[in-house]
């Protein structure tokens, strides 16, 4: 694809910390620590990393949901709305709420709590669409809901059942359909496939890809499962300890990972037909409240140099689509 890419979602030096008071002492959890990210229109962008690396917090801030104890310390978040860049971090909550679901929507993990347990699925859909589409009768809204459900490839009988009657996989797909029902430009998903069985997971991934293809919108997907990323993402950003450390197209990340952490992530995964010894990433991830100096990965890095302990490396751009923040690359 050689076409001019438009940036739809962009952050500048984004810093979002949790300010906590534990037993009378102040604690700062640096969950998103100076992240510059650019996400294009019409792509699926994957964010990967271990649990506790700040990827869920990054999603929350991208969605504009910054509630205490999480605080925006520094930086800006821009959405591109009608060819204008809008700084969301300064928007009033009323204006942000208007954008939700119509412009940017959030796919929660398909838990029961998303649905009203005493309402049939079509009721939930109608409530949801009705709160955004005004001036239509209940019957018209039901009809709209039915159309959307069919368009999104779900069987139409799901509309007439109660949430508890759905299997876990179907519930997750209905949740996704709900998030997609107003044709949002950006959809954000936090581990939407993690708790699912493999076959169901495959179905959900398939559905997300179909939605993206039809709406030509942007999906930002967080999961720790590199296998899912390999199958769905166009570009991948690797997060470690609140920072973005490597970003490239999916093919490049898997074919030519440059950061030692990315290499570990990919090489630790077993493959069919290959029984050779595989190792985990050594050690455990650092606490976001007590980060090591310099590059946060240096205590676990096998190639650590003196400078790694003192200074965080800047991004080295290998080409337009591949950047990595590691002292081993470029500078030497």
């Amino acid at each position: 694809m050689i076409e001019e890419k438009t940036v739809i979602l962009r952050t500048e030096h984004l810093k979002a910390f949790y300010l906590l008071e534990v037993h009378g002492t102040q604690k700062t959890v640096k969950a998103v620590n100076d992240v510059d990210i650019q996400i294009y229109e019409n792509e699926i962008y994957g964010i990967a990393g271990e649990s506790g690396c700040g990827k869920t917090t990054l999603l929350k801030t991208l969605f504009g949901e910054i509630v205490p104890p999480l605080r925006l310390i520094d930086g800006k978040i821009f959405y591109r709305i009608d060819d204008d860049e809008v700084d969301v971090s300064r928007m009033k909550s009323e204006a942000k709420r208007k954008l939700r679901m119509e412009y940017i929507s959030y796919i929660p993990q398909g838990s029961m709590s998303v649905f009203n347990p005493v309402l049939k699925i079509k009721g939930t859909f109608a409530d949801f669409i009705g709160s955004h589409v005004h001036g239509q009768s209940r019957a018209e809204i039901f009809e709209l809901a039915r159309e959307r459900i069919l368009e999104l490839g779900l069987p139409k009988n799901v509309l007439d059942v109660y949430p508890h009657q759905l299997s876990g996989g179907m519930r997750q797909r209905v949740t996704i359909a709900l998030a997609a029902s107003l044709n949002p430009r950006i959809m954000i998903g936090d581990e939407p496939t993690t708790a699912l069985d493999v076959v169901v997971q495959r179905g959900v991934i398939q559905m997300l890809k179909d939605i993206q293809k039809n709406l030509k919108n942007t999906i930002v997907l967080v999961t720790h499962d590199m296998g899912v990323h390999a199958n769905i993402a166009d570009r991948i950003g690797i997060m470690y300890a609140g920072k973005l450390i490597e970003e490239a197209t999916t093919e490049k990340i898997f074919a030519q990972p440059l950061h030692p952490y990315t290499q570990f992530l990919i090489n630790s995964l077993p493959k069919f037909g290959d029984k050779s010894m595989r190792d985990s990433v050594p050690g455990s991830p650092p606490s976001l409240a007590d980060l090591p100096t310099g590059c946060p990965f240096h205590p676990r890095c096998p190639h650590v140099k003196d400078i790694c302990r003192q200074e965080m490396p800047n991004f080295h751009h290998l080409d337009e689509n591949h950047k990595v923040a590691c002292w081993l690359v470029g500078e030497a």
Partner: protein, 283 residues
């Protein structure tokens, strides 16, 4: 110590603590009373509060302040007997029903539910009339405890039911731990906050029911309790004759006691609740 400081930040706890402390001191003062509470006409009748008789005297010729110290002590005794005995029943029934499950569970819960659905008050009045002759503090306390356990047993049972499905129950079994030890060591710590808060609620319940029964004249009126004091004052027309010091003493004491017990229970269970605990430490 840290716990207490945290708790005192809650105005409800501070209030409850001070009130209950005063009430407790009153109850202890009864041991130093110059008068025998069962004897009549030991002091001049119907005196207004004065330095000699702090809260005045009543028509039976008893000193109201010293009478009140006995009343508080006896009401507390009844409520403590009732609350602790019913706690023991609730814990035993709840734990056994929750852990064993099956038929035992169904039988125990049927018993408890039956007690919950029958009109308790009528049964109580009937029972009280039957044992009126032998009614003393202990009998009353035991009677109240018999009706105080079913709801709390249910709470404990449901807690044990969910704990039983947690993996650590299996870890304990695989470590060779026996049933009794398992229940005591693994489940008790989880149920303690619940047991504690229901203990306080149950005390309030017992005091209230005692007052009701006393007002109906169904207890031994010679034993001074908050209820019998109220009974005497009411039926001696203390309101009509404007002897407000007589009628207000038991009324204000019981109101203070209720609010204090309620706030104590609310503030402590809020403190112990894992969810608010998380908010408090913010971790």
């Amino acid at each position: 110590m840290k716990t207490l400081i945290d708790l005192f930040k809650d105005y409800r706890f501070s209030f409850a603590f001070v009130v209950l402390l005063v009430i407790l001191i009153m109850a202890l003062l009864s041991f130093f009373s110059p008068y025998d509470p069962t004897l009549w006409y030991v002091v001049p009748r119907d005196l207004k509060p004065s330095s000699e008789h702090l809260l005045g005297t009543d028509s039976n010729g008893q000193d109201i302040f010293w009478q009140a110290t006995y009343a508080v002590r006896n009401s507390l005794t009844i409520s403590l007997i009732s609350a602790s005995v019913s706690r023991v029943i609730a814990i035993l029934v709840g734990m056994i029903a929750g852990y064993k499950g099956g038929t035992i569970d169904r039988v125990l819960m049927f018993l408890g539910d039956s007690l919950l659905v029958i009109p308790l008050f009528l049964i109580f009045v009937m029972l009280a009339m039957m044992v009126r002759e032998h009614m003393n503090l202990v009998v009353l306390g035991l009677m109240l405890s018999f009706f105080g356990w079913p709801w709390d047993a249910r709470l404990i049972r449901s807690m044990v039911l969910s704990l039983r499905e947690r993996d650590f129950t299996r870890t304990a079994l695989l470590s060779g731990t026996g049933t009794i030890k398992l229940v005591l060591k693994e489940y008790m710590p989880f149920t303690m906050p619940l047991i504690f808060s229901t203990l306080i609620n149950n005390m309030a319940f017992a005091i209230g029911l005692e007052i009701t029964l006393a007002l109906l004249g169904l207890v031994d009126l010679t034993i001074p309790t908050l209820g019998t004091m109220l009974n005497w004052a009411y039926f001696s027309h203390a309101i009509l004759l404007e002897r407000w010091w007589w009628i207000l003493t038991p009324v204000i004491l019981s109101i203070c006691m209720f609010i204090a017990l309620y706030w104590l229970s609310v503030s402590i269970s809020e403190y112990l609740d894992p969810r608010t605990r998380i908010q408090r430490v913010g971790a």
